[in-house]
Homo-oligomer: 333 residues x 2
Amino acid sequence: MVTITDVAKAAGVSVSTVSHVVNDTRFVKPETRARVMAAIERLDYTPSSSAQSLKKNVTHTVGMIVTSSTNPYFAEVVSGVEAALYAAGFNLMLCNSGRDIDRQRSYIRTLKGKRIDGLLVLESVISEEFLALLTACPFPVVLMDNEAPTLASVVDDSEQGGYLATRYLIEQGHREIGCITGPADHYQSRQRYRGFRRALAEAGLEVEPAWVQAGNLEVGGGEAAIQALAAGPRRPTALFAFNDLLALGAIGEATRRGWRVPEALSIIGYDDIEIARLLSPSLTTLRQQTDRLCREACRLLTAAIAAKEPVFEQVRIAPQRVIRDSVREPPTD
Amino acid sequence: MVTITDVAKAAGVSVSTVSHVVNDTRFVKPETRARVMAAIERLDYTPSSSAQSLKKNVTHTVGMIVTSSTNPYFAEVVSGVEAALYAAGFNLMLCNSGRDIDRQRSYIRTLKGKRIDGLLVLESVISEEFLALLTACPFPVVLMDNEAPTLASVVDDSEQGGYLATRYLIEQGHREIGCITGPADHYQSRQRYRGFRRALAEAGLEVEPAWVQAGNLEVGGGEAAIQALAAGPRRPTALFAFNDLLALGAIGEATRRGWRVPEALSIIGYDDIEIARLLSPSLTTLRQQTDRLCREACRLLTAAIAAKEPVFEQVRIAPQRVIRDSVREPPTD
DNA sequence: AATAAAAACGATTGCGCAATCGTTTTTATT
DNA sequence: AATAAAAACGATTGCGCAATCGTTTTTATT
């Protein structure tokens, strides 16, 4: 590789001068500068970030640990983060953890070694050990879509979202309302469930335990929930699926069983993934403001990096109702 | 940050010894080793990758330039690549280009500066300038899902896929077959179109120009294509959509127009995205072996890195038919 | 022309590490 | 006990750069 010394020789100047031309850190006579620039161009010189990092103690690199970037919602967040970081002059090191503590540990080690300037974490479940590792990191850390007492975070306000979703069903006249939750350890699912209960309580309705089905936040979970509900003695007239994939599975399975959506069963989802509008019926859901989530997270992180201080701020972003065709008034029989 | 010198002092040995303990590069007396390890542990020492890279001239980092990691197919590839790289001991620097030559140029510059060990490129369109930049890179480059005379590549064999898709329609008895293509500059679309023509020619069928609709590889393109076809005097009995999103849009629009799929119109897609099986009718399509694509690309790249030589190998991976419900024999009227 | 001041650039150090060259200490051999 | 051989470790260099300290050259001033 071409080094600063090669350029200096080619231009007939010292390395100091080359460095100052490259970084524009002191005045260099226009003719000299031109000679240096020409040499840089001719030799195709690119300064080594490793050497720069060693000197300056910054890497302009941010790490991101994600459970899996295949999940469409996560993919969108990764993409949004990448764009925001690029705009701020940072590069992104992508690390998929697969929910595996060994990989999480290994990645944190590696990222420490790489001397990243900051870290974003997008995991719906954060174990004790992982949290301890994150808290001990020597660079600022921002959680996305999750919260922890010791760390900064930017999250969708899922309690509010759960409340809004449920209230919408109530407003349409439903009084027999069930839900398909996520796993018990899924942070945002717990929040949505809290919102669900708050809305029911506010309307003077009871939670019917048989109508609360635990799902896995994937299509199969929605199908299983419908099977379970169909087997029960009484059925709800409306369901709040804790994400769109659950809703998708539920609509499919209900339709196959001749339990028509939304005529016999109303379903509201959560996320507003891209295909939500393409389903039939198109899906009424809660939209997470993913772009804002990404920008806020990057803003917090880059501010902390610039200030050379940790962050502890916690930001919540309100979700928005997206009203389509999968919710109607309950059947009158 | 804790440096090797801090550890040496804490353990009462020289930096040489610490280095040799860390890298296991020469024998160190067990007691000494234990003292060093204890100091490393106590101080939470992690060697600086920047310093190591500077010395050893390798970074264990691979760059990946992708148009956009939001596209579900691309997201899957990014994830697969990340997994394969992790297994091989490399980190991934993710760069979304958004098809913008300025960003492409900027990222290549940055990645050169970072002294990445290798580069993966996943772009469906590669401009002259971008190609020139890639060819001039001082590290091995592997294209994914695209081919160029000067570079190594791993691609789905889309000519073969186009042929298989079309032949399947012919085998079901169709003789009036149209297609919804991708943009003219989309490499894999051109390949699929070649396969489409080969299958028709082999069966003694003509390409009906009015039935060849140019799409954008997104849902809207499929809808537009159906509108155009519906407006025409004669309609095909079967359509080959060049990707699943087009097929999805086409099925939706045809259904809305009372043109039932598959009874009146058979549709075959391409990609086998996750929701393909969830549509109604579930989508018959061609599955790209994404996992193999990713593994092959990483294999080529890491081999080139290990050998310290460029690569020029070109690998094609055969797609597989996935037969579901969106294709049937043509209506008999 | 002599001097001071300003302009322009160069030499050198140190960032953290791997690895080479070298020295000291220990063990085996007679 | 003296010597040779092996074991164990230390001192130093250089990777490529930014930035400090310092020197030389040019320009302005009298």
